[in-house]
């Protein structure tokens, strides 16, 4: 019961950020998709084989909402991480939580259990909706490849990586100019690695490795640091 009470509290505090990310992506993503559906006539007027950007390969209705997905996932990760771990006196609950009769891991997991669905609902499911919409043949000439659906989810999980990086930095007791930012730095490193892959499997492996490294480090830090 105590654990569920913690979850309800976290959910209450984080809900505005979920809704903000959801509304941002829904609004601007829909506009982008709608605009792409109007551009159907202009998709392939000529062919050019520019080696850097072959014009043969430009028909991607989801390429408009994708940067918005990236922005909203990264933004959500930063906001949730800061809200839950960086400014503990934001709502003056740290002392209250840490001195109740629940163990530290329960507090940590209650926060993370709330954060994970935030990414799934605010970014992951919305991305699936965009993918489903862009598959309508009366609106778009060719459906996007299924790979684009997975890539969207990979981008969403990068938001979760940024969340973990923010958590790690928030929990660090080091000064900002030493290793405090190493969590955020490592999350940027994972993003660079993922964006340098063309095989989906390698990108997923990099994300799983990143999550594993962060979780071990965060659990150790959270259990051992002084509050």
């Amino acid at each position: 019961m105590r654990f569920f009470a913690l979850i309800r509290k976290e959910l209450r505090e984080c809900l505005p950020w979920f809704l903000l990310a959801f509304a941002f992506l829904l609004f601007f993503g829909s506009i982008s998709l709608y605009t792409a559906s109007l551009r159907k006539e202009l998709s392939y007027p000529y062919i050019s084989l520019d080696p850097d950007l072959p014009r043969l390969a430009v028909y991607r209705p989801l390429s408009g909402p994708a940067p918005l997905l990236f922005l909203s996932a990264i933004g959500l990760g930063l906001c949730l991480g800061i809200r839950q771990f960086w400014y503990p006196h934001f709502t003056r609950v740290w002392g209250f939580e840490l001195h109740r009769s629940v163990n530290r891991l329960s507090i940590l997991f209650s926060k993370m259990i709330v954060a994970l669905p935030a990414f799934i609902f605010s970014a992951g499911l919305l991305w699936y909706l965009f993918y489903w919409y862009s598959g309508h043949r009366e609106l778009f000439m060719v459906s996007p490849p299924s790979r684009h659906l997975i890539e969207g989810w990979i981008i969403t999980s990068l938001g979760f990586i940024v969340y973990l990086g923010t958590v790690r930095s928030g929990l660090s007791e080091a000064r900002w100019y030493t290793t405090k930012m190493s969590g955020l730095g490592f999350s940027i490193f994972i993003i660079v690695v993922v964006f340098n892959q063309y095989k989906i499997g390698w990108a997923i492996a990099a994300i799983i490795a990143g999550i594993f490294v962060f979780m071990i480090d965060i659990m150790d830090t959270f259990q051992n640091r002084e509050f």
Partner: protein, 527 residues
């Protein structure tokens, strides 16, 4: 080991890895930035622009060699650029004996030289196909070939990278069918894969309804998406196709090159066993050239052309060439020797018959003078000076990796995915090659870490680990060490020597940390 302790060890290891990675990244970034800035501001010091061949007058090595259809070889010099005379268009043409035959603007030259097959300039290759699939904020790209009518897209043929077939969709979104090695197919199961993609070239000037030359490992296709036809132009089941060159392939009559020589459309290709094939039209004909099969591929280059009068080959050879399969260092040594000696070169012009036998028509020999090594060396020294300066803080790990795992590193650098290639390149560019200053600075850092860590040490194993770590990673290692180990030092109240606060007992006298004395109203200590 208890799970909680093992988790702590894993967490520490990850923390060290993440921190060293970040500091390594920062140090490398500063190194690259310093090198580029220094190079930018000092490049006037180099020997660039000077004549590294020593400025001799008769310079066949500086001319382009052109051939007339009868086999006469001319040496064509392009004048230096001049604003007044609108240089680059000014030509001087010599015969092989060094006699000036003609000079003037390019457009007025009285000779019509043979035009050779060229590497597809408008092509899209396998590297670009991989690059296209990179995951990015705008997602990976797909290869869609449109078929247009009156500037309106009627069909789109999408290439399936894994299945190696094209899937067609109509404007209304209906699936039209598939295009594979066997041509058009109504269903996916009937379509046969084209093979591992190498390159395609847009071979017709009309860009609205493209026709492609599509090269795979073992075949060359011509694919017309508008008519949905696939023609296998060439097949080499046993050996992979290395390169292709095109001449006049599917050119429109209106775009026929000016001149009297009538060229036949031709694809010239080489397979990995060093056999050349000329695939020609008007009439359809394939000629196989096996004369160069036993030649070292580094020793020559071959051009080809086909006219209504015959098939011609131009072979450019040098007598000094690197053997196949030598290491990087041997290759560097080879080039050094190559530069120091005068290099005999020759050009051979052949005609080929329909059976692939070749006959020598004409030949021109010349000697490239030895390169003035001091000027060449000045260029290398300039680069090396800055490279050594920035690599003085490089990790010694780079040297160890390249010394003991050179083959593996080279294999990694040939991989397609970008980041590993970049990492390998960084280790190569920034390796210190065992330079004295790198070792000296590395030693200084180890000494500093020793001095810093002595009073803060919590155990011998950990202390030695950090010293070795700093030694291996140089500046990045020292910064990591300081970031993770710096603590306040106090004077031990028992032995009087400096001690860190990371462990409860003094590392020297084993005395415990002093407890603050009780004060009158100290609620915490008195309860």
């Amino acid at each position: 080991m208890k799970p909680i302790r093992s988790k702590r060890y894993i967490a520490r290891a990850f923390r060290v890895t993440v921190t060293v990675l970040l500091f390594w990244f920062i140090v490398t970034f500063v190194q690259v930035l310093t090198f580029q800035t220094a190079y930018l501001f000092n490049r006037e010091d180099t020997a660039e622009g000077k004549d590294i061949f020593g400025g001799s007058q008769w310079m066949p090595h500086r001319s382009s060699k052109e051939v007339l259809p009868d086999g006469t070889i001319h040496l064509v010099y392009t004048a230096e650029y001049s604003r007044v005379r609108q240089g680059y268009n000014e030509l001087q043409i010599y015969d092989v004996n060094g006699n000036l035959i003609w000079q003037g603007p390019d457009k007025d030259k009285p000779f019509e030289y043979l035009q050779w097959a060229e590497f597809p300039s408008n092509s899209f290759d396998d590297h670009q196909l991989i690059y296209m699939q990179y995951i990015g904020t705008e997602l990976s790209r797909v290869l869609d070939i449109p078929v247009n009518s009156n500037l309106r897209t009627e069909e789109i043929w999408r290439y399936n990278v894994n299945g190696q077939v094209f899937k067609g969709c109509s404007r209304e979104g209906d699936v039209l069918g598939y295009i594979g090695a066997g041509g058009f197919a109504g269903s996916r199961s009937e379509a046969v894969g084209l093979g591992d993609f190498q390159l395609f070239e847009l071979c017709e000037s009309s860009v609205l309804n493209p026709v492609f030359i599509w090269q795979t490992d073992n075949r060359i296709y011509e694919i017309n998406f508008e008519t949905r036809q696939v023609q296998i132009l060439f097949e080499s089941p046993a050996n992979k196709i290395d390169d292709i060159w095109l001449n006049n392939w599917r050119q429109k009559p209106s775009e026929k090159p000016a001149g009297n020589i009538e060229y036949r459309p031709m694809i010239f290709c080489r397979t990995e066993d060093n056999v050349y094939y000329l695939i020609m039209r008007n009439p359809e004909q394939t000629v196989t050239i096996e004369a160069f099969k036993n030649e070292n591929p580094n020793s020559y280059s071959l051009d080809a052309t086909a006219t209504s009068k015959g098939v011609f080959l131009l072979c450019y050879k040098r007598s000094f060439f690197p053997p196949v399969g030598i290491s990087q260092k041997q290759m560097e040594q080879y080039w050094k020797e190559y530069r120091q000696k005068p290099g005999p070169h020759y050009l051979e012009f052949y005609s080929a018959d329909s059976s692939g036998d070749i006959e020598l028509v004409s030949r021109f020999d010349w000697v490239r003078p030895a390169i003035d090594e001091s000027l060449w060396q000045a260029r290398i020294d300039f680069y090396e000076k800055y490279r050594k300066m920035t690599s003085s803080v490089s990790p010694i790990v780079y040297d160890l990796l390249w010394r003991f795992f050179e083959d593996g590193m080279l294999r990694l650098s040939e991989r397609d995915f970008g980041i590993i290639r970049e990492l390998v390149s960084i280790t190569r560019e920034n390796q210190a090659d065992g330079s004295f200053i790198n070792l000296f600075l590395g030693s200084l850092m180890v000494v500093f870490a020793f001095w810093h860590g002595w009073s803060r040490r919590t155990g011998w194993g950990r202390f030695i680990f950090w010293l070795v770590f700093v030694g291996l990673f140089n500046l990045a290692g020292l910064l990591t060490y300081l970031a993770l180990n710096h603590t306040v030092v106090i004077k031990c109240p028992v032995c009087g020597r400096r001690r860190g606060l990371q462990i409860e007992n003094c590392i020297r006298c084993k005395a415990k940390l002093p407890v603050p004395e009780k004060r009158e109203l100290d609620l915490i200590l008195s309860t």
